[in-house]
């Protein structure tokens, strides 16, 4: 089981994200059971677990797409107060549009496939109130460039792009407003292995250059190993183990984590 550690003593910054005791049932089926997580500014938290473990549900809760039956969620940001699950639809939308970026496994969830790629990025800026066409172009180009998207194709619609490129558009959209929190739901699943490596590399660069706080969900331990500082292992809606990424992978404590790690190696 997860060892109980001391409270942070050297790191004095407050956690950016604090989720406490999230529980959610779909009818009789528990999707989340008392899930808690803390993420510090600049940290990358990885969540692993097989399909149905509740990891994506947890991420949807963090993106305020879903509201748990119980639990609280706070972000330590100026003008953001209280349990975010108490916010109304309007406040949630504004918060998600301006402070939280998300990349979905399925680009159809995150992108307008027939609009231009740059337009997909610009939409975020438009929601935030940008009304200068020139600035929209400039910022969309900047975000696409940071996501290592080929700028010659910035006005091509995502439906004409490869899977890897679509993920880059999603990423550009997610980081366009320099969010405080970036959520990644299986960002490389379904891509060719070589493309996967490139997208991962882009993520790693962004993380290092901008110190974006990230929560990344994947069933692929390699992805988590590459990106995450800390790991949370979930099964059947529960956190079975959490710790430093290298520790969880090299010295897993829980039987389920051991099984997961050994299956990979």
């Amino acid at each position: 089981m997860t060892a109980v550690m001391d409270a942070p003593r050297l790191v004095t910054a407050r956690p950016l994200l604090t989720a406490q005791g999230l529980s959610l049932n779909y009818g009789d089926v528990p999707a989340l059971r008392d899930v808690s997580a803390t993420v510090y500014p600049g940290e990358v938290l990885g969540i692993v677990g097989e399909s149905g473990s509740g990891k994506s549900t947890f991420l949807r809760c963090l993106n305020l797409e879903e509201t748990p039956d119980r639990g609280s969620y706070t972000l330590d940001l100026p003008d953001v107060q209280g349990n975010l699950f108490d916010l109304d639809r309007f406040a949630r939308r504004m918060l998600c549009a301006t402070r939280i970026g998300i990349v979905y496994q399925n680009p159809h969830l995150g992108l307008l496939m027939r609009h231009s790629s740059s337009g997909n990025v610009a939409e975020r800026l438009l929601i935030a109130g940008e009304r200068r066409f020139g600035v929209l172009r400039h910022k969309a180009r900047g975000a696409l460039d940071a996501s290592e998207f080929p700028l010659a194709r910035m006005d091509a619609p995502p439906e004409e792009l490869s899977g890897g490129m679509q993920q880059r558009v999603q990423l550009a959209k997610a980081i366009a407003l320099e969010p405080a929190l970036l959520l990644l739901d299986e960002p490389t699943t379904g891509l060719d292995v070589s493309v996967q490596a490139l997208v991962l590399d882009t993520l790693k660069r962004l993380q290092q250059d901008r110190r974006i706080t990230m929560v990344i969900v994947s069933h692929d331990l390699g992805v988590i190993r590459t990106l995450a500082d800390r790991v949370m292992v979930m099964r059947r809606g529960e956190v079975v183990e959490a710790g430093l990424a290298d520790q969880v992978f090299q010295d897993p404590q829980h039987a389920y984590t051991q099984q997961l790690v050994h299956a990979k190696l």
Binding site: A122, L126, R131
Partner: protein, 303 residues
């Protein structure tokens, strides 16, 4: 004592075709629409002796507003004499006994399809626009329940995105008629399929505009002296149709919205779209005593 002395002469109990409760409902919805400028109000939309899509929304509003003393003008694409306009005018007159006119200046109530007259409307005039599709978000959000939430949240990012896409693809905004406009800084509305030329006329106008869609069962309003701002990027100015330099081949009127009449040799002639203005211009040129009111556009420029 005679029976005659105890009773009134026969007179119609109601006029305007619709029954009293139908008119009362529409009146209430109009008041609501005026209270929340640009916000669409649902209404029952009764049957009228006309097919849906031919102006039944405008007709129901006109039937509700009309009294035997209201002077009515009806235009279709700017013309008083098109079949549809003539039929509606005749119908309104016959169900209310109201006098009719083609002169914009004389009219109390103007029902119109796709145009706003070129002469400035006054505080005492009401413009009723027929609306085929009242929902500006329909093209970006097919689910009307969600579209309503978007209005509630003033979530118009997708509308702006549509303009962005048009500029990226075509180098300019391609939206011709029904240019989405922000009313009173809050609700985006479709101004019905009037050309871009007419949208600025709604901004801080003296008259009341009611926009009604019979098939879609919704009406919205632009009260007098209300801001109506077409959605435009700060650095891509709003442009009206390039008609400022065109001259009407029949009346010689210049600097107004024109209809293009293609000729056999491939060229085009132009004719002023506001037929009443054209007629008045011709009469004035022939020396008749005709009064042409102040127009919104002077020398092709919005004044």
């Amino acid at each position: 004592m005679t029976l005659q002395s105890l009773t009134k002469d026969w007179e119609p109990m109601a006029y305007g075709f619709l029954d009293g409760s139908a008119k009362r409902e529409i009146r209430r919805k109009m008041l609501k629409a005026i209270s929340v400028p640009g916000c669409q109000m649902p209404y029952a939309s009764r049957e009228v002796p006309m097919a849906r899509g031919w102006g039944t929304g405008g007709l129901q509003v006109s039937c509700t507003l009309v009294t035997p003393r209201t002077r009515i003008k009806v235009i279709d694409q700017g013309a008083d004499d098109s079949v549809n306009a003539a039929s509606i005018r005749k119908f309104l007159a016959s169900v209310s006994g109201a006098p009719v006119t083609t002169d914009t200046l004389q009219a109390d109530l103007i029902q119109s399809r796709h145009r706003i007259p070129e002469e400035r409307l006054r505080e005492d005039q009401v413009l009723v626009l027929q609306v085929p599709n009242p929902e500006p978000l329909r093209s970006v959000q097919p689910n009307m329940s969600i579209a309503r939430q978007m209005h509630a949240d003033a979530d118009y990012g997708r509308m702006w995105l549509q303009l962005y896409e048009q500029i990226v693809r075509s180098g300019r905004v391609m939206q011709g008629a029904s240019y989405p406009s922000l009313v009173n800084g809050r609700h985006v509305m479709t101004p019905s399929p009037i050309p871009r030329w007419d949208v600025p006329k709604l901004h801080m106008a003296r008259h009341l505009t009611l926009l009604s869609a019979g098939r879609e069962k919704r009406l919205h309003a632009v009260p007098p002296f209300t801001r109506v701002e077409p959605l435009v990027f700060d650095d891509v100015p709003y442009r009206v149709e390039d008609h400022a330099g065109l001259t009407c081949h029949r009346s010689g009127a210049r600097g107004f919205f024109m209809n293009e009449i293609p000729q056999a040799d491939g060229t085009s002639l132009h004719e002023v779209s506001d037929s009443d203005l054209g007629v008045k211009t011709i009469r004035a040129a022939e020396g008749e005593d005709t009064r042409i009111g102040a127009t919104w556009y002077v020398d092709g420029e919005m004044s």
